[in-house]
Homo-oligomer: 519 residues x 2
């Protein structure tokens, strides 16, 4: 059995995962990193083609040239979301070459990667470190993955690479457009995905970098989001990705009247507490409810005749409309959630690229998240101490990634609009199944039956006093839900750790254990 | 006396400079770096203001907060060229605080920095590593600097910082516009200097980074050329720099009929040898003759109805006109040499920013220089083996920096249009006073009395055979000059090394010694 210790959040976490040392969570802002950033090997131009042409015939050749071998770490980005066409091929090739024990280090995985389950079973892939949405999450939950999964936020992924906690051997960067030198962007071509920022750390720190594109242009590929100076090989393929599949369920505005109510209440709360004011800033996550909040924000801004200094993306058509209407001065975007986002980013200089480095990396000299006035996020569960969970459901199954969720908690006000229950399971619980975000960073829970404000935010309690909004305690909300649904049964876990959850500073905030029913 | 060894170019160079080990030049592409890039300390957001506001009252406070103390390395960029208003103040402050033995590590220094001579004399500044134009060059030549100067190319400077050869304690980045988080650009504001690329390495690798601006905007400063995530402190001053002084003598097109002839011959040579063709690329340096070459290139392109895929800057009004006329698809710019360059870069997405990292760093996976079809450069001297000198004059005085000159030698064809003599001193000599660029990389010398092609470039010799151009050997050109001016007297040097000249890979290609007349 793995040795565990109680971390600062009271969770039992291991100090060793997959044979590597990891530090238990110490509290928000408490872990002070020592040491230095990861130092990649110094390359020399003398080892690269003098004319800058790094084209290689095909992906297999590139992987062989990059030295693909047992035990390596292969990374990839998820800007194509469920439209990724490359990573399945990469592991098909690894299988074909008989390479074993790989670590896949994607910025996120999607249902399209169900294809990889046989490779997880036969040991081609030893483990995945990155979010596991859908089938891979279930596979992991069932305790079938050979190694232990490690989930990191977008910022935590950058931090882990920067700090040398994860050393990438081969980075695969699928790009809408690239030149033979390796300069690449996601803005143009028939496989445009918008940004390539999730691959930034990979390009900077990986030992070998392979750019894959279906739209090869003569040097220079302008603008470049990935710099060819970091790239080893360029491969032209028939199709680099399927941008139509960027849009997923979580990137459409909700049509549910219940969810729209949540969104409206959230917007009203922000209006009543003075958060919405001229020059303010906001971020709404990828969930359907969060997206609806932007819409209501827009209505309020129009009415008041004010504008926002900036909105943080993930961008989508709603945000783009607000930018084009002049309600928002800048979109600082990390990820385009639909093709309108891609178009706007290509055309509008005020639709600005960001990366997990600029926006979310906790091990830098500050990041953008702290400068956002209000962020609207989702959660699978929240507990009476305002702790949040986004990775497991109340049934204990690991089904989601962390995304930028943890990183956004550092914004000035964090609001979670949540239905009081889902499928008759209350969302507010005594203790979250998996701790992903500490309660001290979560300010407001908006439900259809009332709004709970974190007692730490006396200013918001004061400001919303005479708002007419249904302010309640989180205890009251929990009790209301339990009156309707009954007290939910807690999932029963074995001791076996199937995944570790990292905090933004690289410490282990919690783990996910294997469910008894899978034992 | 310093111990010296003969390097691969036959020059006697020290293996230790200023108490640090340095590697003698081994030949082009021969030195293979071992080891890893410099790894900066890992910072944490927990040590920075949660709201991202890094404003400090004044420069002095910022320097004190940054821990300014004896023996530190202070870096700066030269995008303002002779209009730098900050660095003199930085060292005034150091003097005021009684700090000694500083190393100043500018990307270049200019006559405006003559102000620093007393600090070089009193030991506030121990030495300068960077180009020394004008008065500082003379001061150094006279052997008055306490330490030994080290001159690096723009790419070599990036390489030295990246590789940890030069570790910067405090980087000062003067910017036209910045926000309180430290995002900064040189595009806007009354002190716009165009780019800030020369400060890129400094921002990425320095221990502490101070941004100085006179145009503070609310977050976000878009676009950012320097990322606030690397910045420690932001200081607002009355005036960050004087853009009117960006234009210097070397950034105006020549009016001399002799030089115009050189430029025209150069262009004709490129036409005759097929270098000028549809989709080609070129770079003309900052010298007046080089600038005139662009003009003639334009004439030829118009006549032929072709366009260039890209031109590399330094940009200036001539290049901007060609871009706007459609003769050039992209300007890949590293430095704006006039205000038209700044304007174009601000307005035109095809006027693209580059940095010493993308364009010139030899310790990367290739750089842009190798992809340029033809580059037109200046030189103070060339010898019969096509070796070039740009830092000293034939009188042995150190008067110029290397700039991007060494880095550009990796372009496909390197042409030096040079007058056969200057002030009755021949430019083609038996052996260059200071070796800055190896002859194997210099292809063509164009003089008003003939064109010499490097025997290594059989293709160019063949292609120009029936061009009607006055092709001669370099020996013939040298003899013609000597017939007119007489054999020039060689300067007499002592053994004392006053400056080391680095090659692009960090090795020592030559040194400059103190002149006997100053002994």
């Amino acid at each position: 059995m793995t040795k565990t210790v109680k971390n600062a959040a009271g969770r039992l976490v291991p100090t060793e995962i997959n044979g590597e040392k990891h530090i238990p969570y110490k509290g928000v802002g408490k872990h002070k990193p020592e040491g230095r950033k990861h130092a990649p090997r110094i390359p020399t131009n003398a080892d690269y083609p003098p004319d800058g042409n790094k084209l290689v015939d095909n992906l297999k050749d590139a992987l062989i040239k990059a030295g693909l071998k047992d035990g390596m770490t292969i990374s990839s980005h998820h800007h194509f979301r469920n439209g990724d066409l490359i990573m399945n091929k990469v592991f098909d090739t690894a299988k074909e070459l008989g390479v074993k024990n790989l670590r896949w280090f994607p910025s996120a995985s999607f249902p399209c990667h169900e294809h990889l389950i046989p490779y997880l079973e036969d040991g081609t892939i030893q483990r995945i470190e990155g979010s596991m949405n859908g089938p891979l999450g279930r596979f992991t939950s069932e305790g079938k993955m050979k190694g232990t999964a490690i989930l990191r936020s977008h910022g935590g992924r950058y931090q882990a690479v920067q700090d040398g906690e994860v050393q990438i051997d081969i980075a695969i960067i699928a790009a809408g457009t690239a030149d033979p030198f390796g300069n690449a962007n996601g803005l143009t071509g028939t496989s445009a995905s918008g940004l390539l920022g999730f691959a930034l750390a990979d390009s900077q720190y990986a030992d070998k970098v392979i750019v894959v594109t279906d739209n090869l242009v003569p040097f220079p590929c302008v603008p470049w989001q990935i710099q060819g100076n970091y790239v080893d090989y360029v491969v032209k393929v028939d199709k680099a990705g399927d941008p139509d599949k960027i849009v997923s369920g979580t990137t459409q505005i909700t049509k549910s009247p219940d969810r729209l109510l949540l969104a409206e209440m959230t917007a009203k709360f922000c209006e009543a507490t003075g958060i919405i004011k001229d020059g303010f800033s906001f971020q709404t996550g990828a969930g359907g409810t969060s997206l609806a909040v932007s819409k209501y924000f827009g209505d309020i801004m129009r009415e008041k005749g004010i504008k926002a200094r900036f909105a943080r993306g993930g961008s989508n058509k709603y945000l783009v409309e607000m930018l084009e209407e002049g309600l928002i001065e800048y979109i600082l975007d990390g990820q385009t959630f639909d093709l309108e986002g891609v178009r706007s980013m290509r055309e509008n200089p005020n639709h600005t690229w960001t990366s997990p480095f600029t926006s979310y990396n906790y091990h830098s000299k500050g990041n953008f998240a702290g400068m956002v006035d209000v962020v609207i996020l989702g959660a699978t569960e929240v507990d009476v101490n305002f702790n949040g969970n986004v990775v497991t459901h109340s049934d204990g199954l690991l089904m989601h990634g962390i995304g930028g969720w943890q990183n956004c908690l550092f914004s000035k006000t964090v609001i979670l609009p949540l239905p009081l229950f889902r499928n008759r399971i209350p969302v507010i619980v005594d203790e979250v199944t998996t701790l992903v975000g500490p309660g001290e960073l979560i300010d407001v829970i908006v439900t259809e039956r009332g709004i709970a404000i974190n007692p730490l935010r006396k200013d918001l309690i004061e400001a919303s006093k005479n708002s007419g909004l249904p302010i309640k305690t989180i205890q009251e909300l929990k009790e209301e839900a339990e009156k309707i649904c009954g007290k939910p049964q807690k999932p029963e876990f074995t001791d076996e750790i199937i995944a570790a959850i990292k905090w933004v500073d690289g410490t282990v905030i919690d783990v996910v254990r294997k469910l008894k029913k899978f034992d």
